[in-house]
Symmetry: C2
Subunit: 216 residues, 2 copies
């Protein structure tokens, strides 16, 4: 496999490839050309070939990609095949929604515990995941070394909790708090910015010639 | 303003520019060069200049961008300055979290009502927004013509509700259901895929030389 700098844009397309291949695989499709895959995803065939060439040699001239193989390979690149432990900090509405609906296992994450400060939540389970007191966070991390923490806590607690998690050895923060966290270089912070997505939708509606202003 | 095809990648960077400029503005920064802005955002200066050139002429050689002006201009491009009405369908945990924490007004959206089927929610308010029965959806839409609906409903209800919303004149769906919705061309669907974000984080941790497998 070539060693090279891989741009952020390429990295961000990998999960999308994975998702589309997953969908095709579950629909029983066996192989696909880069141009067909590209059309589905709204990127060019050459973009796909170029992206994948960062990671090795995939596909075959005149045949295209074997979906199962390519999916497995991208899964390996994404680290999905190495189970890592994940915890959720904050089992309020957003944390609860993730616990209830998000398939962490599919992304290669093991989740058995979420932490909160609310007495009425501590000791309960959500979707089979135990909610423990924040007081137990240190001992849990010392024993299980979670790699990733999901931050679904109030804004004003975000930075302090992030610092504490990093001191406990957490290497990645999936940050839903909308706070730009300061963290040392060795820690990976992935921010979920809902607003970026809504503004993209806003743009498309604003630019559509069929769009009329709402009646207010 | 030039009329031209604008790629999805450019469109998706616009909200990020807007967000960074917002942050700089709120910190009292008045102007910025494309290279400094690029460094903060992890894109090149020429990328920024090229992206913005799709929409007009911005910035000045040797001065850079006036942050307030550029922010206002991008806001206009994104349609933030035209208030549009938005409704939320589903006030469960995820809907509740958005109602509680997300600033719809900042994106130019007016939100006064969410809809649900749960008797214990109907008639209540969350963060000043009234929760009404789904039975009132048709009459509300006939009166207020919401442009956008946020879909935070269970998967199995998603497509049917989406069809109904479109028949009521909703033009954009902000889809959190993880269902690939079928919708006619004139409707804009913006899917929020949490998994793409988590897998990006997974990749970075997997690729980091400092990463060890967790002890399980």
């Amino acid at each position: 496999m070539k060693k090279q700098y891989i741009s952020d844009a390429v990295i961000r397309r990998l999960p999308r490839y994975y998702r589309y291949l997953d969908e095709l695989h579950s629909r029983g499709v066996v192989r696909i050309s880069s141009s067909t895959l590209g059309k589905r995803m709204g990127v060019t065939a050459s973009q796909i070939r170029q992206d994948l060439s960062c990671f090795g040699e995939f596909g075959q001239q005149g045949y295209g990609y074997n979906i199962m193989e390519l999916r497995a390979e991208i899964g390996r690149i994404l680290g999905v095949d190495e189970p890592r432990r994940l915890i959720i900090i904050g089992a309020g509405h957003l944390g609860h929604a993730l616990l209830q609906n998000f398939d962490f296992a599919q992304g290669g994450f093991r989740l058995d515990t979420a932490f909160d400060v609310a007495p009425e939540l501590i000791g309960t389970q959500i979707n089979g995941v135990a909610i423990r007191s924040m007081d137990e966070l240190d001992s849990y991390c010392a024993m299980y070394h979670p790699a990733v923490a999901v931050l679904t806590v109030p804004k004003n607690a975000a930075q302090e909790i992030a610092n504490h998690l990093v001191s406990l050895g957490v290497r990645g923060l999936w940050n839903f708090t909308n706070v730009e966290l300061d963290a040392e270089e060795s820690v990976f912070v992935e921010n979920v910015h809902f607003a970026d997505s809504l503004l993209t939708l806003s743009y498309r509606i604003a630019k559509d010639p069929g769009a009329g202003k709402e009646e207010t």
